[in-house]
Point group: C2
Chain length 446, copies 2
């Protein structure tokens, strides 16, 4: 089977204990598709990655570069000469070239552009003006368009003359003489239509085109809700300027879902980023956490007296803080996911808050009985057991407020609510946890 | 614009302060597509959701049910009668019916099946035998197949006779007289080919079909790597039994990415699940965290003497534990993501471990200088500042071991490494954090 075989190729290449000669590796790479090579590069530590990339043929380099994540793409591009880069991207489609060039320093982009034909240069320069996270940043210019007055027979003849159709062509588009978008025409409809009918008679005009400056997440939602393969993109004058295809949208969906996971932990690097870069992306939230940990410590500091008198309070206090942290992260996760899926809005946030409160009270009852019992068995002190149970319930309620309002407030200030959200919410639960437990102890135990 | 308008519909419906009559809501729902109605239902609290669903026409209910997530789908289905359910699913495609029926209690499935024609029943029963997370669980049976000896002209005539082609039909399949898969034929190729050529001459035979029992994540990877719209599925005898389309694969990708995020926090419910259910899904990991928090407390308990003598150790000890927890979660996140993307394997895990160690040492240096300085300024004790710095470095190194090995060990035991991973790794860093800080203090401060 083809796929199994390629998997083996990948594993052989990645296995650094195997003693393959460079020629053997080169032969293996020749058998792999560009997306498989890209995956092999992304699964390799930096040094090995550079070696593998250097073994590729120049005409393969462009395809592989396009398939790579932004960070690794930039790394590898920065290692090759302008001439090699120009050669590598030469065979790519214009939007793929745009994708690679937009991450380069301006100097290099100009250099590469200067080596292209004027028509290509103009079109690429146009492509470079669209922001990365908009419909414009995703669009391909490889559209096929026909006129409403054309007969299906003429359209079929026209398509036949094209030879091969661009990848993921499930529909062509209908425009007027000014290239204004009028409607779309599914290939499957062309093939099943009566040849003498006109495009106007069978074209679909109900579905709205995408706008060039529409947000890419919105584009992904539209694709998902309507099960699209491709969709036309128009500019502010309703002129057809390109199309977006499902494969680019899948990348947006992946990245979108990734962002919550990585953001919450405060990491933002490739799996195999070099240590210096990885350390740099992570140290910010570690430092933030250090500052917030000192805030939590100052809270404890307020209760030196009671800690001095009753040493086992120090033993138990992390429990209340830690439970609040886990509960707050649970609420935060639900809110972040709801925001990403666009399920949360002003009309239902109140219900969500009440639901989370109910959850924290329900779980608070179960857990406070547990924590109280274990504490009583351990320290044989009834008051202490009651105190830690109460502190836990207080902190679980605080965790709801933190888990719901921190992401909403961050989003209100146009910050990504996923990034560092968990550091902020656990600070709240640490402070409230120490405050409630040690505070209650000060009142009732001394 | 169509989309904007629907968005408004959605917001109007969800806004519980608006005083719409039931008829007004009904009219709004009529204007929305089934996927938009499904999104509205998923964005509604349970009561409102049931009301909205009850306003749908029976023939719309089936389409909407199919678009819903499993949990909400089950909820709504359990509220309607067998007759209504049969009526609702009647117009759906067979694989869509399978999707809904497979989540029902056996009794109800039988009841609904008994009301169908024998042919449909047989095919649905076959569909129900495929596990949910395999290619079989994703497949549609709406394939169009032709024979290799057919001419393109005959194929086009055949397609024309079909009238409309099934959704997402970018290719048809070539089989022999025993329905064994031979190759595929892109619609765009049919349209551009010379009509007198035969299927055999232009069919694509290089691409391997999917196997019915292939893992659904593997299917998603194949679709992503090869930018597929649809792919044939064969059984163990290489017979064509259906096809998988990109829209179902996008759902797998979404769920896959979701799983890491939700699993790490120990939540597993819908955004608007009722409080009882939400509490139930979360209490397990809260209880686990309680047990592990007691383990951390027992560690502190070992150091009662030193805590009794030097009270500010209790103030500082949560800092070391908390920093280790954040660092471990960062490493864990990178490993989980690498495992999901199938980037991590035996050949590069050693490099990854070394990289993480280097990161923790680099960040350890920066952070220990910070923590030492603040501690010195706060408590004016040089030895204490050195001790907390050393404890922090030790705990950051421990965080690497926890963040890398916990998910790998979980996966080795065939457990989902995402679920509860963060509770386990933070236990490790809590214990090592308290042990190193209080241990060093015992040695050097008293």
């Amino acid at each position: 089977m083809d796929i199994e075989e390629n998997k083996n190729n990948l594993e052989i290449i990645l296995d650094d204990s195997s003693d393959l000669s460079l020629n053997q590796i080169r032969r293996l790479l020749n058998k792999m598709s560009s997306s498989e090579i890209a995956h092999a590069l992304e699964s390799s530590p930096p040094k090995q990655r550079k070696l593998l990339f250097s073994l590729l043929k120049t005409d393969e380099e462009g395809d592989v570069l396009f398939e790579l994540g932004e960070e690794i793409q930039q790394d590898l591009v920065s290692d090759i000469s302008d001439d090699e880069l120009t050669e590598a991207v030469k065979e790519l489609e214009l939007d793929e070239i745009v994708d690679i060039l937009q991450n380069l320093p301006e100097e290099r982009t100009k250099m590469v552009l200067s080596k292209m034909s004027q028509i290509d240069r103009k079109r690429i320069e146009k492509g470079l003006t669209y922001p990365d996270n908009t419909a414009g940043g995703l669009l391909n210019t490889d559209v096929i368009s026909v006129r409403p007055k054309n007969s299906i027979e003429v359209v079929i003849k026209y398509l036949r003359d094209q030879g091969e159709l661009p990848e993921n062509t499930d529909k062509i588009f209908v425009v007027n003489d000014d290239n204004e978008y009028l409607g779309e025409l599914a290939i499957s409809k062309i093939i099943t239509a009566i040849p003498s009918m006109t495009v106007r008679e069978i074209m679909e005009t109900e579905i709205a085109p995408l706008y060039v400056d529409q947000d890419d997440k919105e584009v992904a939602t539209i694709f998902e809700r309507n099960n699209l393969i491709s969709s036309p993109v128009v500019n502010e004058s309703n002129q057809l300027i390109g199309r977006i295809t499902i494969d680019d949208v899948v990348d947006v969906i992946r990245e979108d879902a990734d962002q919550n996971l990585l953001g919450m932990a405060g990491v933002a690097e490739d799996t195999f980023a070099p240590p210096g870069r990885a350390a740099k992306t992570r140290v910010f939230w570690l430092t933030m956490n250090l500052l917030t940990a000192f805030i939590a410590s100052s809270t404890i500091n307020l209760f030196q007296d009671v800690l001095d008198k009753i040493v086992y309070l120090a033993i138990l206090m992390p429990i209340v803080a830690s439970m609040g942290g886990v509960a707050a992260t649970q609420t935060l996760t639900i809110v972040l996911r709801g925001l990403t899926l666009e399920q949360i809005n002003t009309s239902n946030i109140r219900w969500l808050f009440k639901r989370e409160l109910a959850v924290s009270i329900l779980n608070g009852i179960v857990l406070s009985i547990l924590v109280g019992s274990v504490t009583y068995i351990w320290f044989q002190q009834f008051t202490l057991a009651i105190l830690i149970s109460c502190a836990l319930v207080i902190n679980l309620i605080a965790s709801v407020a933190a888990g719901i309002f921190v992401p909403l407030i961050l989003r209100n200030f146009n910050q990504d609510p996923a990034i560092g959200g968990s550091v902020v919410v656990t600070t709240v639960t640490d402070v409230i946890g120490f405050l409630s437990f040690l505070g209650l102890a000060t009142i009732y135990l001394i």
